[in-house]
């Protein structure tokens, strides 16, 4: 009996793969530019996904579709996900709450970070524009501006610098320019000036024929589940926990007030909990240059440090993440100590319960993982005719480490042409 229980626990531990590990293959295929293979893998993940991860996976698939030029499919997936995220925004599911607290925090439905919601609208705008639906792109521009107002309007200057999405402001401004709404374009460029002044164009001129290139660089940071070990002891009417967090100096401490009645059979007990560690991805690129018909046209300017934004959002949520972890730790410890003190059979049952909870404890490693680390921009005068453009990626030592796919871009007199390269 005991052996069977232990075997079940081992199986549970093995069976609960984190989101990051499930996404690993699709992520690698996507960043290698093998969009067909990435999509085939994502189709399988979407099909097999639990409801709680379904819409996040639609975001991943929508992003790959956008990169692959399948704009209609990208729109379908991104819109479906956006609709669901708006539906559940600011609401609470009691079932999710219990599962989050008792099992692990990835059991609830995924709710994206504000910058991820802004990026959904940004990519939808691009998808409509690149498929040639101007009116659709203008509607998405309106939605994007509304999202920016909703998610970044109330931020302090310091938070805005970390959490705003300059790419979204730039994109909205360009679409206002294209529509001939100079004043609205200036408002968005002014918002951009506060966070990324070097990226703001020198002039706003809807009639100027221009090529505007956006290039995505690097990989978004991902979260991995790390086991944290700590020590729990009684302090009067409270429980106090100590643990070391990766990247933090010295031990961290948490209080569980009013839980001191928990009878620890020793002066203190060791505990473990799963913690989502945010890991920046290695980047070898230093700069990118735009090449037009084989001739270097200039260097792309940094526009949006999405890696920094994702990291800032992660740090902002750290407190809440730790409180939830502390609560789960308490439940596990209670199951294994206080309740386990009963007779032999019950003691064994609660011991197993504690071990099961430990086995299924996984950090919530979910995030939109096909986002880039950074977005850069380049703008130049552009007239009628067709030319081939590509972005050349250069490392710190000046070596060319790769290029984007080359695309034929045709320009029209007095019109702006947008190119999106990954």
């Amino acid at each position: 009996m005991r052996k069977a229980c232990l075997a079940t626990i081992v199986l549970l531990a093995v069976g609960c793969a984190t989101y990051t590990s499930r996404m690993e293959l699709s992520r690698d295929l996507y960043y290698d530019g093998r969009y067909g293979d990435a999509l085939a893998n994502l189709d399988k993940l979407v099909k097999d996904a639990a409801e709680r991860d379904h819409y996040l996976l639609l975001l991943e698939r929508g992003k790959v579709d956008l990169a692959a030029g399948a704009y209609d499919s990208a729109i379908v997936d991104l819109q479906k996900a956006e609709r669901r995220f708006l539906e559940i925004e600011a609401t609470v599911s009691v079932a999710d709450l219990f599962k989050n607290m008792l099992v692990n925090p990835s059991m609830g439905e995924y709710q994206p970070e504000p910058h991820e919601k802004i990026m959904i609208s940004s990519y939808l705008l691009l998808a409509y524009w690149l498929k040639g639906d101007r009116e659709g792109a203008f509607v998405e521009r309106n939605r994007l501006v509304e999202r920016l107002k909703q998610y970044t309007g109330g931020l302090s200057d310091a938070d805005r610098a970390a959490l705003d999405v300059p790419f979204a402001h730039y994109l909205a401004a360009v679409l206002y320019e294209i529509e001939g709404r100079e004043d609205d374009a200036r408002i968005e460029y002014d918002a951009l000036r506060r966070i990324e002044p070097d990226a703001v164009p020198a002039t706003v001129d809807p009639k100027r024929g221009e090529l505007i290139v956006f290039a995505e660089v690097g990989r978004a940071p991902v979260k991995v589940s790390t086991e944290i070990r700590g020590y729990l002891q009684k302090d009067g009417g409270n429980l106090v926990g100590f643990f070391n967090l990766p990247g933090s100096r010295g031990p961290q401490m948490f209080f569980l007030p009013g839980l001191g009645e928990l009878e620890l059979d020793k002066p203190g007990v060791l505990f473990t909990f799963a913690f989502p560690q945010c890991v920046r991805q290695r980047r070898i690129l230093d700069r990118c240059t735009l090449v037009v018909d084989g001739v270097e046209a200039g260097e792309l300017k940094p526009l949006d440090d999405l890696e920094g934004t994702a990291y800032a959002a992660y740090e902002k949520n750290l407190g809440a993440t730790l409180i939830k972890a502390a609560f789960r730790t308490y439940i596990k410890t209670a199951a294994q100590t206080k309740l386990g003190k009963n007779d032999d059979a019950k003691g064994f049952a609660f011991d197993v319960l504690g071990k099961v909870l430990s086995a299924v404890d996984r950090a919530d490693t979910r995030s939109w993982q096909t986002l880039p680390a950074e977005i850069r921009v380049f703008r130049m005068e552009w007239g009628p005719g067709e030319r081939r453009v590509l972005v050349r990626y250069v490392d710190e030592r000046g070596n060319v480490v790769g290029t984007s796919r080359a695309i034929a871009v045709s320009g029209e007199r007095d019109r702006k042409t947008i190119v999106f390269l990954i």
């Binding site: 609401t91 599911s93 009116e135 509607v139 509304e146």
Partner: protein, 198 residues
Amino acid sequence: MKKLLLPILCLLFVAACAGQTTKEIDLSKDTAENADFSSADLARITDGTMNSLSANGFFQQYAAEHAGQKPVMLLAKELKNNTDEHINTRLILEKIRTRLINEGTSQFVDDQAFDSALEQLNLQASDLYDNAKAAKIGKFVGAKYVLRGTISNIRKRSGREDINYMNVTLDIFEVETLLIKWTNEVEFKRVSTKGAMR
């Protein structure tokens, strides 16, 4: 027997809950589901437009000046959509056109039939058709007026609350002079609040 009753009742309950239900909705009692543009708004816009047109007297004046004739009008390709929603704005214009034609106040040139009409005329001009009975070219009627408009919104979403102001402005302008002969706006504001629990 008693032992069987409970499972049977449970099965009946499950069976009653299964499957899909479809219910016809009376369009005259149609209401918006949330703060977004809905089918109920279509009726509101059409009614508001028709009321304004009859109060304005544009069609009566035209008939009086042109020996009882009806003005020939054209629909703009679509309403200019300045909202944050993907709306089939052509539907709004077509609904108004349907009411105007059915109430006998105006005639409309079909802006979308041009290509197929031209194709048909070319075909009938060929030897395949009896030339005496074929439709004649050069009989297309030009529109004197164009019905067009803009739909805009201002939305404020905060937490569980979604406040949406919508405005539809329509006008009829004269093709020859560009003078606006009639204009009207229909506006409404809705707030929708989601439940805290889902």
